[in-house]
């Protein structure tokens, strides 16, 4: 039997990054095929190529054994390939039926009028085939996320899709909703639809997947039957990188002061009762899968988002942090994963970006800025951090990612923060520059700063951290010592609520 979809030798590069290399994937009709891998392994890129969102640089895509060129999402739809993105793409002010048939509305009166009745009838028919009880005239904005997802699936089916790609479909669903989704998947499967299921959650794969294909670093690792393969083996395939990376030399922190202590902070369902502390000179790594709540914890500590409860202590004293201004005053700096949006004013020059958090220090009488002092400070950090820029007047947007990151670091060093929270410090930075950033982080810790590093790249966490906090679904599921294995981390990172009654707290002695 020929495969429904077969992708072979797929190559794809983005500026500066090779996303896929000789990657392959195949899908039979009537199967649920899970695609797994760490963040950045290339799963989404692979599926976006199949859905016509990206163009491949090399390799071939076969549909029913025949080579096809898929140049646009529209073409993919015509070929019967539907994708349901992690972020739903619906228009909240239109009804479910209007969303499903957007751009293909049935007409009447010679094409001048919309045939709303037919529209609703056709949508109702699709819902019925899914055994879904939903009025096609309901406004999408008023539906739960789970229901909106059903509308997306119905939309994909309306194209008579034979291939349905689902990217982390359960990320925002509760258990009952997940059951409903799985029931629909089972029905589609019975009708011969091939389903690609991208997920991080092991327990779900065991429930619905027939086969699992693992990708790592943009390459195909292997395909195994989902049922009889132990979870350990799948994890090993995902992280199986040779562990040649350096491990940190962990200094003895037991006599160092605790600088930052976080007690029981929470925020909706994003952060659930998280507590930890960081000592002077320590690098605390935060590992976890995407959406585990690590960034949310950082933003809550920094006052960028409101928190529902919990205390933050600096040197044992409670600090009232409601906005970033308070956090900075307490000596906490936050380096966002999204430098361009949250870290830099890219249209401004190096000097002003470095001084951005300390401008009041460079202000004399009458609000006059002391440009010479600002220049001196900027040049000092440009030298110290070896920021490659023609001058401190260079616009930041013209610099490379690594140099931009160093500018954000310089900004916080100039502000003299004791606690620095790095959120994905090497995202979008090439390999050479990564090493420089690592060295810089180690040097900062040696100088006695308390450092938190959030990273989705396990080798990065392992290489830097003196201790590793692991989160899953808003909970801190454990804190591991520096020698922890990737497998141990992945176990904690996929440990969903209920499996452990009490989240691990505080120190591991």
């Amino acid at each position: 039997m020929t495969a429904l979809v077969s992708m072979k030798g797929i190559e794809k590069s983005f500026p500066g990054v090779r996303a896929l290399h000789n990657a392959q994937f195949d899908l039979r009709s009537g199967e649920v095929h899970a695609l797994m891998g760490e963040n950045g392994a290339g799963k989404s890129t692979m599926m976006k190529i199949l859905a016509g969102i990206y163009h491949r640089d090399g390799g071939e895509v076969l549909l029913d054994g025949k080579p096809v060129e898929i140049n646009s999402p529209r073409q993919a739809q015509d070929l019967g390939i539907g994708i349901i993105h992690q972020e739903l793409n619906l228009m909240p002010h239109l009804t479910a039926a209007q969303n499903i048939f957007i751009g293909r509305e049935p007409r009447k009166a010679g094409g001048f009028l919309l045939d709303e009745a037919k529209l609703n009838a056709e949508a109702a028919e699709i819902f019925a085939s899914m055994h879904l009880k939903l009025d096609p005239r309901t406004l999408v904005g008023g539906l739960t996320i789970a229901r909106q997802q059903m509308v997306e699936i119905a939309k994909a089916l309306s194209y008579r899709s034979r291939v349905l790609i689902m990217d982390e479909p359960t990320a925002a669903l509760n258990d009952a909703e997940i059951n409903e989704l799985f029931a629909i998947i089972a029905r589609l499967k019975a009708e011969g639809v091939g389903i690609v299921y991208i997920s991080h959650k092991m327990d779900e794969l065991k429930r619905i997947a027939d086969r699992v294909t693992v990708m790592r670093d943009g390459e195909y690792i292997g395909s195994v039957p989902a049922g009889e393969t132990p979870v350990e083996k799948i994890i090993a395939m995902m992280v199986g990188r040779a562990l040649t990376d350096e491990r940190p030399v962990v200094p003895d922190h037991s006599n160092s002061d605790i600088v930052l202590e976080v007690r029981n902070i929470s925020r909706g369902s994003e952060i659930r009762d998280v507590s930890f502390s960081v000592r002077k000179g320590e690098i605390l790594g935060f590992a976890g899968l995407m959406g585990a709540g690590r960034t949310e914890v950082a933003r809550a500590i920094f006052g960028a988002d409101r928190r529902d409860g919990g205390d933050i202590l600096m040197h044992g004293r409670m600090v009232d942090i409601r906005k970033p201004e308070d956090a900075v005053r307490a000596g906490i700096g936050y380096l966002s994963e999204d430098r361009k949006h949250f870290g830099l004013a890219v249209g401004m020059d190096v000097r002003n970006n470095i001084a951005l958090a300390s401008l009041s220090r460079f202000t004399g009488p009458g609000g006059l800025l002391k440009e010479p002092a600002m220049q001196q400070a900027a040049v000092h950090y440009v030298d110290q951090l070896t920021i490659k820029t023609p001058s401190d007047r260079q616009e930041v947007r013209l610099l490379s990612g690594g140099n931009q990151q160093k500018i954000v670091i310089a900004k916080w060093l100039l502000r003299d923060c004791e606690v620095l929270i790095f959120d994905e410090p090497t995202r979008g930075i090439d390999v050479g520059a990564k090493n420089e950033i690592y060295k810089l982080l180690n040097a900062l810790a040696e100088q006695g700063r308390a450092i938190i590093v959030i990273s989705s790249e396990l080798p990065e966490v392992l290489r830097l951290s003196h201790r590793i906090a692991v989160m899953c679904e808003g909970r801190l599921t454990g804190i591991l010592p520096a020698g922890a294995s990737q497998e141990e981390i992945m176990h904690l990172a996929t440990r969903r609520g209920g499996e452990n009654d009490k989240p691990a707290k505080g120190e591991v002695k």
């Binding site: 920094f302 970033p324 951005l356 958090a357 401008l359 502000r415």
Partner: protein
């Protein structure tokens, strides 16, 4: 003027490209002047040049106020009616209450600052989009001006020095060959002051930073609300100065005047190369923009082109100016 020209746009960072656009605007201004002088011998007369400058003074000052707010990434639609409101307040203090001139001036500027603080608070604290907040303020101020004045003009006949604010000539009294009215002098003084604040002070730096990336500024631990309100307040007080200028020129506060001025002001800002999306802009550009609008109006009038056509031309110029700016940035 050279003082302002020398104050380069350091903070926007788009120094060279920004300079290019200003050069283009300046070249257009020169070209317009050249065309009109060739077309009509009356154009280059001293009296006509002074008339053009005098006509620019009110719109120029308002446009400077609008520039500050626009660089933060906002917009201020209330500048025109705020100008009138401040003029009416001056009328109340000077004519109704018979206070001395200095207090009237102070009251007008303060009224502007208060209104700006209010607009700024709506935007920063209540998170109302600037367009809506200042649209509301525009109507509120228009209504208040009519209510306070009893819908009638307030004349300043009892305050003898008042007309001198705009129409007198300090420069002319020292150099009789240069009878430049005070209104024009005030325009340039306001421009120099605003340029200085924008380029050299912390308020100016945050004005650019807010327009460039407000969230990054907030996440740097800066109280962004406070600085934003300060910018609106400064813009408001500059509108107060504009109010004094127009009232002095008309020797009266005309409560029905004002609406529509905000659009001319924004047009000058845009022609001058300030980006409506914030983060980039200069006072000198705005000044050139305001001059282009007045030169056009004056030159077309001298050539006996109907007023209706003048507005058509101004509109076309706005579109052309912004399009060249887009072309230039696409190339970068």
């Amino acid at each position: 003027m050279s003082a302002i020209a020398s104050a380069t746009n350091v903070a926007s960072g788009a120094r060279f490209s920004g300079a290019q656009h200003r050069l283009l605007a300046f070249a257009s201004l020169i070209a317009l002047v050249a065309v009109f002088s060739l077309a009509s011998p009356n154009f280059m007369q001293t009296s006509n040049i002074i008339a053009i400058l005098q006509a620019t003074s009110v719109n120029g000052v308002l446009a400077i106020a609008a520039t500050l707010v626009i660089i933060t990434g906002g917009i201020d639609l209330s500048v025109g009616t705020l100008m009138t409101f401040c003029a009416v307040i001056a009328g109340v203090v000077l004519t109704f209450w018979g206070m001395p001139l200095g207090l009237g001036v102070l009251a007008a500027v303060l009224a502007g600052a208060c209104s700006g603080t209010l607009s700024g608070s709506f935007v920063a604290k209540l998170k109302i989009p600037p367009f809506i907040a200042t649209l509301g303020m525009m109507l509120i101020l228009k209504g208040l001006s009519l209510v306070i004045s009893g819908t009638r003009p307030i004349y300043f006949n009892s305050t003898p020095g008042f007309t001198q604010i705009s129409q007198g000539s300090l420069i002319g009294s020292v150099f009789p060959a240069l009878p430049i009215p005070n209104g024009v002098l005030i325009l340039f003084l306001v421009a120099i002051a605003a340029s200085f604040i924008l380029e050299r002070t912390i308020l100016g730096r945050f004005t650019f930073a807010l327009g460039s990336n407000e969230e990054a500024v907030r996440l740097s631990g800066v109280n962004t609300d406070r600085w934003k309100i300060a910018v609106y307040a400064l813009a408001g007080s500059i509108c107060g100065i504009a109010g004094l200028l127009i009232a002095s020129r008309l020797n009266s506060a005309q409560p029905a005047l004002g609406q529509g001025y905000e659009l001319d002001a924004i047009a000058a800002v845009v022609i001058g190369g300030t980006s409506l999306s914030g983060g980039r802009g200069t006072i000198i550009g705005t000044l050139i923009g305001a001059l282009i609008i007045s030169v056009l109006a004056n030159g077309l009038r001298i050539l006996s082109v109907a007023q209706e056509w003048q507005t058509v031309v101004t509109g076309s110029i706005i579109i052309l100016a912004v399009y060249t700016d887009i072309l230039r940035r696409r190339r970068l």
